[in-house]
Symmetry: C2
DNA sequence: GCCTCTATGTGGGCATTGTCAACTTAACGC
DNA sequence: GCGTTAAGTTGACAATGCCCACATAGAGGC
């Protein structure tokens, strides 16, 4: 918006951001990230090669979009948790917000977790040097953003363990990690299946998350 | 192998199968399905356009590969279940087999669930006529194969409900469906997270599945 | 005020891709 | 035999990702 004179300046001002926005818009519209980098450049009103000044490869642009997606998710989870009291309610609220978030923009959600970001490192090249098991080729930017979102969930688990709502030792890192991972897996998996539309269920998604999480919570308490 | 004379016949014999095999091999080797259709044709020893006699689009070839993947998964689940007694043990065994299966060929697993198959229907075109919610554009072949694999799990749930091992009414379709979906979501989600290597846990995958499923089972029993 | 440096954007080019069209080959029914 | 037709072939086209050499402009030393 700013400085958008008809005499567009040679230098864009904040092309990097503009490219990320354009790419996000494309992902959202087309529900796919198969669009061309050139198309993104067109949208941003620059030449087909300008993006290469900011992103070495198309994958890096997608990575930036994914990271933005994780940050947005984190904020939504935070807001959902804010209005609740008690870890159990917090978990249910965040679970619903999580799934809803994924359903609102399936392609973005898939991109965040997808392999499109890891392709170069994780695939053919990995053959030569034995697949790196530690980082699996996902850009650190994305990993960090993902961890940020995950942290919201881990915090709930921790509080639940401390308050005794969940039958987990708050001092066992492993127990906490396994519990958080379990919950995340369940919600993540449900989101994916619903996105793929292969649940075979016509119940409202909110109902499904609730039931799933409640079962899981009961299991945690039953320990 | 059969009939592979030096005088290669004009007609391949079973090109369709050969193409699927080649594509599957490529997915496995490169851990990605970004390879070109032409590359597949080269592997099968035919011209770059021969595949179009069997698959209208690249997506259709990938669909066939995905369907094959689901069928293989179903067989593995069946075998895993066969050696167990009791629904609880069956569920744990199949869960482990499921995750192991996914980890053995992450790219194939992702392809099976991925959006690569739905792209044309589910994306831009959906804008015109209001997204079809019923089939979401996944080829019926893939959907059917997926349902076959899912059926193994549903069968376990049903038996568990009937035997009273799970506190579910065996006569409530909804209850059964929700339970099956819950278990599937959990295992599917865990598989995905492990594939993406973003679990943040260094526990053995078998341990993680066991813990996750046990928690879920306890939750089902606690009803 | 000038001059150079460097980040940023432009245009052209190349190998490769997915898909279309027109032609060729061989197998099978009659 | 002979035509119909499925299955494979070559050739073409626009588009893509990424490379190169060049153009532009703002910043900083002097």
């Amino acid at each position: 918006m700013s400085q958008a004179e008809s005499s567009r300046p040679y230098h864009h001002g904040d092309l990097r951001r503009a490219l990320i926005d354009a790419a996000l818009a494309l992902v959202t519209e087309e529900q796919d990230w198969a669009f061309s980098l050139r198309e993104v450049a067109r949208r941003a009103g620059v030449s087909h090669n300008a993006p290469y000044n900011h992103f070495p490869e198309k994958r890096d642009l997608l990575g930036a979009v994914a990271a933005a997606g994780f940050n947005a998710l984190r904020e939504r989870l935070r807001k959902a948790v804010a209005g609740t009291n008690g870890p159990r309610a917090a978990l249910l609220a965040s679970g619903k917000a999580y799934v809803r978030s994924g359903l609102e923009n399936p392609a973005l959600y898939r991109l965040m977790f997808g392999p499109a970001l890891a392709a170069a490192n994780g695939a053919a090249e990995a053959g030569k040097r034995g697949r790196a098991k530690a980082d699996s080729g996902r850009p650190t930017e994305v990993r960090a953003a993902g961890a940020g979102a995950k942290a919201v969930l881990e915090d709930i688990i921790l509080r639940g363990a401390q308050s005794g709502a969940f039958a987990i030792s708050a001092r066992s890192r492993t127990e906490l990690a396994v519990a958080a991972l379990s919950v995340w897996s369940a919600v993540h998996g449900l989101t994916m299946l619903v996105i793929d539309d292969i649940t075979g269920s016509d119940l409202a998604i909110e109902t499904l998350v609730s039931r799933l999480l409640r079962t899981l919570l009961d299991g945690l308490a039953a320990r």
